[in-house]
Every structure is written in C-alpha cells, then in structure tokens.
Point group: C3
C-alpha cells in the first residue's frame, strides 16, 4: 500500500520533455538562425519597442474641456461680442461662432403671406397642395393672399408673422478670422490616477496670455487664432463664414508614464468634420434658427427670429497612457520565447523536402509505428511483462557500432 503510494508520487514527479534531433547542417542551421533572428527582431522591435507590450495601457481617458472665445466683429452695423456670437455660452467643448445672421424682427402670432416662389398662387386651390408643408414659415391655411387677375399672390400661413425671408444677401462677419479660441483641457488617466493639463508648466502667465498656437514654433500654446485653424484645414474662411461649417480640433494625449510626466503632452490636429457634405448642394454648411422673445407693454409676446450661420468647433480629446507592468511583460516575454520555436515550421519544410538527404533527415526525425505492427506484437506476446514497462524500451538499444553497415541510413 505504502509502496504503491510512493510509486504514484514517483510517477507524478517526473518531467517530460520532447526528444529532439539536432541537425548539424550549415544550410538549414543558418536558415534556422535567420528565422529566429527575424522573430526576435519582430518581438523586440515591434512588440516591445514600438507597441510597448511591456506596459499596461489605460485607454479610458477622462477629459474636460473649457473654451473661451475672444474678439469683436462687425455685423449688421453692430459690434458683436462673445455674448452675441457664441452658442452655447457656457464655453463647452462643442461651440459655435455665429458668422452671419438673418434677422426677422417683430414676429407675432397671426396669419401672413408666405414668401418664396414655391408658395405663389393664383387661387386658394393652388395652396391646398401645401397643406402640412414643413418648408413654409407656418401652418398653411389654404388661402391665397393678394392675388389679382394679372398678378400671382402668395399662400397664407398661420404662425409667427411676418414670414422670414432667408434669401436676402448678407455679408458674413469676416472678422471671425481674428477671433481667438482659448482651450483649457485637463485629462485624467483613472488607472494610474495621473492628471495633466494642456499648459506647459514652464510657460509663464504672460506667455500663455500672449502666445498663439503654431504647429512648429508654439505647439503647446492653448490659444488658437480662428484664421489659423481654418487654414490648417485648408478651408476658405470667407466661404465658411458665409455658409457655416464644422471644424474638429483633436487633442491627442499619448503618454508614456515610464518617462518623466513632463513628456506627457498634448498634440493638436485639425480637420473639417463636415467635409463629405461641403460640396453637396442641398446641405452644405451649417445653420440653425433661434429667437429672442419680448413682451409689449400690454403683455403680448413678440420675438425676433434669427437664422444663424455658424462655424461649429468640436474639441475632441483622445489618448491613452502606458506604464510598465509585470503581467503584460511576462506574458509577452513568454509569447516571444515560444514564438522563437515557430521557426521550426519553416525549417522543417526545407529540411524534409528541399535539402540533399531529405529522406535521411526524415528517417531521423520520424519514427513510424503502424497498427499492423502493434497488432502483430500483441498477437505474439499477449501477456508480455515487457509491455508493462514500455518506457524502458529504449534502454535496450544495442551498443554495437554500425558505421559500416550498408543497409543503415547512417
């Protein structure tokens, strides 16, 4: 009983390793080492140095963006300041600078004639087809106003009157190019609890106040001239101001926290986000409508409708941070060591097929055992004691030297 247990334990604490054939051949040896070198280079160069596989990565960047626009522009004979042209006013990461506005003053609830050639009519029935139209300025009543025998009238609509005429030609506020956008961006990598802001700690207050971002000379200045931003995206400022558009300001944080934290810096890039639509006739540009509401002395409401054309800026923050960690390092080291062995796949193909003496190498690498042999053996010696200790079989190899035996591969 005790010895059986010991036997079991002895059997358990064994070590099994593959039996290998060492081929002393210059050709396949060199190929083998070159393949191994390539695999090691891949792991060292790409996996470890380029992809930094020894680091644990935090991609769940937490970011907050505050923006502040400054500048004055003339529009409709008025001086416009930030409170007039920025929407929303809270200085969020997505904001619009209004560059052109078509104003319809003193609208109040009532009925009035539509504008635009689509709504021309000579009698009421002409207007019935517009019932439920969403392209009018109000609900179409089905009445044709101001038509006489020789002149066309316009369909009547009910809603805020007078109707807006958005076909009027207005010069956009080109001063927008001189406006500045100040971006305050702080990011946090929750995994490492590292927080960074987009100002260089080495910049003085005076520098931050007076600098202008430039990709080469001043890449860490948080103040952007709108004109510069538009030119970085190869956009025509006056066309954009006239029709509106959307500009993306991407702030990319790629932080290697194994280095000093001061190397963890933002990288700005700029794109026109609505580029796929910029050439589209029906829907190029960007505009929206809003109203300012007033009350007359006697308490009736009226409003001023604004159709605003604006440049929208989206500040998008992306990034990740990496820091050395034992677990990914170990996993990738093991992967690297294991992969070095993969060279054998290629070398085996060469060795066993294309090399002189391939058949002899095959004979050395492969031992064959067939069902027939096993069955023959089992038939001959059904209760053989030897078969109980099969692992010792190889101990019976003869020691006879056989270099001269001609029917032997070696």
């Amino acid at each position: 009983m005790g010895s059986m247990m010991l036997g079991c334990i002895t059997d358990f604490f064994t070590y099994e390793t593959t039996k290998s054939v060492v081929v002393k051949s210059w050709s396949v040896g060199i190929i083998n080492r070159i393949v191994q070198l390539l695999i090691i280079s891949y792991f060292v160069g790409w996996v470890f140095i380029h992809e930094k596989a020894y680091q644990v990565k935090d991609t769940g960047i937490e970011s907050s963006v505050m923006t502040k626009v400054k500048g004055f522009g003339y529009h409709n004979n008025q001086v416009m300041d930030v409170a007039d042209y920025v929407f929303p006013q809270q200085g969020s990461g997505i904001f619009c600078i209004m560059t052109k506005v078509i104003i319809t003053e003193n609208q109040s609830q009532g009925t009035c004639a539509e504008l635009g050639k689509n709504f021309k009519c000579s009698n009421d029935t002409d207007c019935h087809k517009h019932y439920g139209s969403i392209l009018s300025n109000g609900v179409i009543t089905g009445v044709c106003l101001n038509s006489s025998n020789d002149t066309m009238g316009y369909c009547e609509s009910s809603g805020w009157c007078p109707a807006e005429n958005d076909q009027v030609k207005i010069d956009p506020m080109l001063d927008v190019s001189n406006f500045t956008i100040f971006i305050k961006n702080s990011v946090r990598f929750p995994l490492f609890n590292v927080t960074r802001g987009n100002f260089l700690s080495t910049m003085s207050s005076q520098e931050i106040k007076t600098c202008k971002y430039h990709p080469e000379t001043s890449p860490y200045c948080p103040i952007f001239l709108v004109g510069d931003v538009l030119s970085f995206t190869d956009q025509n400022a006056s066309e954009l101001a006239d029709k509106g558009g959307e500009i993306g300001i991407n702030i990319e944080w790629k932080c290697n926290l194994d280095l000093d934290i001061k190397h963890c810096l933002p990288k700005y890039s700029f794109t026109r986000l609505d580029a796929p639509f910029s050439k589209n006739k029906i829907s190029s540009g960007y505009n929206f409508r809003f109203a300012k509401y007033f009350k007359t002395e006697n308490g009736t409401d009226f409003r001023t409708l604004h159709k605003a054309f604006a440049i929208r800026f989206d500040v998008m923050v992306t990034g990740n941070a990496g820091k050395f960690d034992t677990i990914p390092t170990l996993i990738n080291l093991v992967a690297a060591f294991t992969s070095v062995g993969l060279g054998t796949v290629l070398c085996d193909i060469i060795l066993l097929n294309f090399l002189k003496g391939a058949k002899q190498y095959k004979a050395k690498k492969f031992e064959e055992v067939s069902e027939a042999q096993i069955e023959a053996y089992l038939a001959r010696s059904p209760g053989s004691q030897l078969s109980l200790r099969p692992g010792l079989k190889s101990s019976y190899d003869s020691g006879a030297i056989s270099f001269t035996t001609s029917d032997q591969p070696f």
Copy 2:
C-alpha cells in the same frame, strides 16, 4: 584557437527539431485529421472570414452630428415652430423637442403663497417644518398666509412670484409625430484618413429632400419622421408627448475598407433610452424648467417660467473600420498554423489511453530515463570520453534486423 572558434560557430549554426512518432493507425489518424479540420475551419471561418483577423482595425471613430427639426405644432393656441420647441437651438447631436409646456407668466421677485396641499397650514408654526425645503417655489419664510379659523392657508415663500402651478392639465402637442428630423452625420477614421457622410452619393438633391427613412425601403434616407422613430421603439407617441422621454438614435458604421468605399454605409437603430424608468412612478418622463426674462418700462425684471416636457433625442455614433494589413495577417496565420498542432493534445489522450495497444504506443512515444540510471552510469564511468559527445549516442544504434526477437515490442 581558430578551430575552437570554428567549432563554436558550427555548434551555433545547427537546427533543432523535435523527433516525432508517426502513428499509422486509421482510427487515430482519422480523429487527428478531423480535429485539424475543425481547427482550420475555426480559423478560416471564424477568425479570418467572420472576425476579419487579417485586418487592422480603427475603432477611434471621429464623428460629427448636425440635426435639423422641421414641422409646426399647435400648443396653447399658438403655432410653435423650430425656434420655439427645439433645445438647444444649435442643432447638436443631443436635442429636445418640447411637447408640452406649463407657463407661469409675469413672475417677479417678491413673496407669495405656495401652492399644493403639502404647503397647507393653519398657523405659522405649520410652515416652520418647511424651512429649507427644495420642493417649494421659493424660500419658505415661515409665515402662513390667508388662513382663517375655518379655512386652511398656504405657507409663504420668497422668490419669483406668483408660484408655479404645475398640476394644471394641458394637452400635449401631438403634432410632434409629423415633425421630421434631418440628421447630417460625417465620420472619419483617423488611422486610414477615410471620411464618410450619411447621404448616399447616388441620391439626388430632390430625393434627399423628399425621402423618409424606412428600415427596408429607404434605409439610407437621412430624414426621420418623429412618429416613425417612436413606433420603431414601440412607444406610445401621445404618452411620450405628455410625460417626455428619451429616444436614442444609433448610427452604426462598420466599414470594410478592402471593399469599395461605397459599401461603407450607416445603419440606424432606435431605442428608448430611459426605458428602465418609464414605468417608475416618481421619475418617469423628462421635463425641465427655463425662463424668458423681460424688463418693464421702469427697468424691473420679470420673467415667464416654463416647465417643459420634452422628448430628448440622442444621436449616438459608433463604428469601426478595418483594412488588410500584413502584420495582423502574419500573426494570425502563425497562430493558425501553430494551433493546428494543438490537435495532438486530444489525439495523444486517445492514443495513449483508449486505443488497442495503448501501452505499445506509449513505449514508442516515451523514452524513460531515471536519476538512478544516470547515477549508476556516472558511478561506473566517471570520466568517460563518450559523455563528452552525448549527441552522437544515437549513431550507435545497431543495424541488426530484429523482427523475430520476441521480447521486443515491435
């Protein structure tokens, strides 16, 4: 010296490959090939074709969304247009359509009686428990107004007066179902610098203007009827208009950039985002308060308070793009080739345990060497020259033919 160096180099340029046993057995051979076939099928079918492991993926999609709502609705005997019912007005990816509004006109700073049965009182002390209440319309002063011996009064609060009565029953603006939402979405995959918009390039201006989204007949139309969107999410439009709610419009981009770019198309889906709360009594729906501010002739401020019930739409853009790249292809090919060898794990178990002649196979696969043998050998021939060239051992295999030897497994 030189020959030692040469020896080292010769030793270095060797190739080591595992010695294998080839089992010519139908049963285990078939199992082996089936397992290998399964593994290859998995890699070809799932990893390569389904998961497209030969591609490098860009998941950092950059997206911009502009929306425009159109339509007219009657509410409180007024015609409401976009400038009245959309918040915020800039046409961002998250916007609300106000469907019901409770208006409290002409509020100005002062003191007035609270409304609501919670604030009923018969004397001042009844109101003291409400000090610091946030459910009132203003700061509770601790005074009970208008109470007499037989009627209850209401606590006084200081703030914007008169107090809002939000228990009034108002019909929601059901016209909301006929409003249309126009969504302009452009995405960019920064890794490949590919930009796409959600209009088909084959659609004419007229088509885009007049189409309505339908999942089957018109899946790429960017204009959505609010009523349709609500029905896609199985919501009751009139209930939603009455209480408010939140609808998600998901735009999914899954682009295979190995195909023509025109196959990179958006897929729309719709959900009710606040579904977990829709049955909750205390907090179903969606509402918020805002005020319009006015000035009297003599300069005192007054405001109109609005309690707005709204349907909020969140346009969420997700997606990724993939493109053929050599590095992931190589890595996965290597993984596939290596994994084919994993079939041996299963086959070994069958071969060495369940097959007839398992012991003989074991004897063929495993060579045993024990510490005792090594020690015995070392004791016998401590300085043996042979042990210096152990790799040559196998050259001493005898060539004698031994098919007739009965105490030999084969």
Copy 3:
C-alpha cells in the same frame, strides 16, 4: 492505380506526435510540477477568475443621463431658482450651476470709455497700440476720452456700452452647498440587450425622494448634495463658488451578467476635473459671459451682460458587461493547456545545464545528425532501397540487451 490511391489515403490518415523523454528525477520533476502549478494558478486565478476570460465583453455601453438640480440661493438680493442658475436648462449630463454673477445692465450699441488701468491714456496716440485688442469691451476707436492736463483718461471703444467692470467684488452664492442634484442614468449593453437604471428596484418612491447619496450608508441613492460632492473631491466650497470650477461625477457600471441582473449596479466617484489648473493664476476657475436681450418701447435693442462664475458638473458614464460565452472560454482553455507546456523551457534549462548528469540527459534528449554523415551515407548507397522507406528505420533497432556495455550511456 487503386493501390496507389489507397497508399495516399493511408499516408494521409496518420497521426504525428512528438517523441518524448520522461525524466524520472525528483529534483526536475518537482520543479516541473511547481512551474506547471504556477502556470495553472495564473490561468485559473488571474485569467479566469480575475479577468473573467470565459466571458464575452460588451464595452460599447450606451448611456443617457438626465439631471435635475433643486434648491434656492440668495444672490444680488434676489432669490435664484433653477431656471436662473442652471445652464443649459435641459438637464443634460454636463451642466453648470452659476454661483456668482457680475451684471452689467442696460448695455446698448454705442461708444464709451474702457475701464481698467491697461486702457488709461493721456492722448489719442496712447490708444493706438490697443487697436485690434481682444481684451477690451469693444472695438478700440483710437480716441482717448476724458483726459485733461492732470488726470489720465480712458481709451474709447465702440460696441455694447457701458463697458463691463468685472473687478467688482461680489459675494458668491454659498447656498449652492445645499442644492441637490438628481441624476437619472440609464445604460444599455447592446450586445446583450440589457438595460439598467441607476435606481434600486427595491427603493420605494419615498426613499428615492428623501435619500441623500453617501458612499457607505446610501451608495445607490441618485440624489447628491452639492456640498457633499465638493467635499468628496476635497474642494473648498466657498473658493469654488467664488472662482468656478469643474467637477466630474463618474458613474461606473461593471456588470457580470452571469450573476443575477440585480447585482449590476452603478458605482459613483468624484474628481475635480480642472485640478491641473486650480493653482494656476491666469486661468483658475470657470466663467463665461451671456446676455439677456430686451427691446425698448421704440424698438431699440439693449441687453444685460452677465459674467457668470459657475461650477460645472460632468456626469461621465463608463463601464462594461460580461457574459459567459463558449468561444472565449474554449480559446482560453486551449491557451491554458498549451501554456502548461511552457514550463519545459525553464525545466530544460535546469535539466540540461545544472543537474548532475546533465550530459547524459542531453544525450538522451538530443539525437545528432550532421551533414557529413548524410553525405557519407549517400555516397555509400546512392540508390539504397531503404532510403525509400526512411520512416521504418527505427523498426530496425536491435533487441539485444546491453545493460553491461560500458561504452553506452545507460
């Protein structure tokens, strides 16, 4: 022809397994098993239990956040309520609570004197350097106003007049600490179509209405006292109310959908997002400008400019969900089984280099075959029949017992 085909098929249905050496040695056997145990522990403990590698993960969480602030504060001798101090009013995931406001009343378009010592001047030329300034309140006209021989004047600017004086000292609305923020957050995991809200289903309406969030006693209450939130982030409420700032409220969902869905709960955490700037003199805090627009009886526009200092709250939702799936389970099981074999790398190094009898083990593990041998053999028997059936070579092993042969390693 038929037999050749059969031969091919027979050759195809073979099974190749590595020939192994079983080392019966206590030392290396124990090391082997310990290494295997470590590898298994790593897979069981880290990969399967900690990382839950048997699950498929959905990281594309869809989230919607609605917020509602309640509370009253005194500021500028007025009672402020939600409609006055929350921006934007729609109750979105990012919102500001205005805590201090500098009001400039009755601004209208015109020209007026700038304020501030930077704009002091004694004659017009002093003002020319300010042309194009964006730090003024309007467009600098280049005229020096109100200067006499002995007193300095101020440069004139054109725009909204009178100019804003933002140097005035105003007490912030410290009542903000008593405001409450109610957060309604619903999330959806599209892969599993699982939807969750941030209220416990076991909480009654009354509980939800009256509870206050506390990390230990009430971690699932959706109502947050602003003062608590500020203290969780170790911020001074009065300083924050005075200068403004940005607070992040992170809601983390980590859901194991193999457990009951009721364990899928939110976890709240709080940070000061603009922490990197909080000590920065030039740009600490958070403020923005907005205007309320009015019309006089005769129709001219005037406005009230507000410079608002606010605490901005960003509700950020992160998370993922995991659920058992056969594919990742299988892949990781295979990876685990395969990796158990990696222990051989270490054990081989020990066995072949540091163990007593290392050379003998090497002799047993490695069979050597050199180009020279192959060439010698090929020269001797160029057309040998045997070489056509190399796989059978090992069948010719002699059965002679050789335990006593002294020139044999074993």
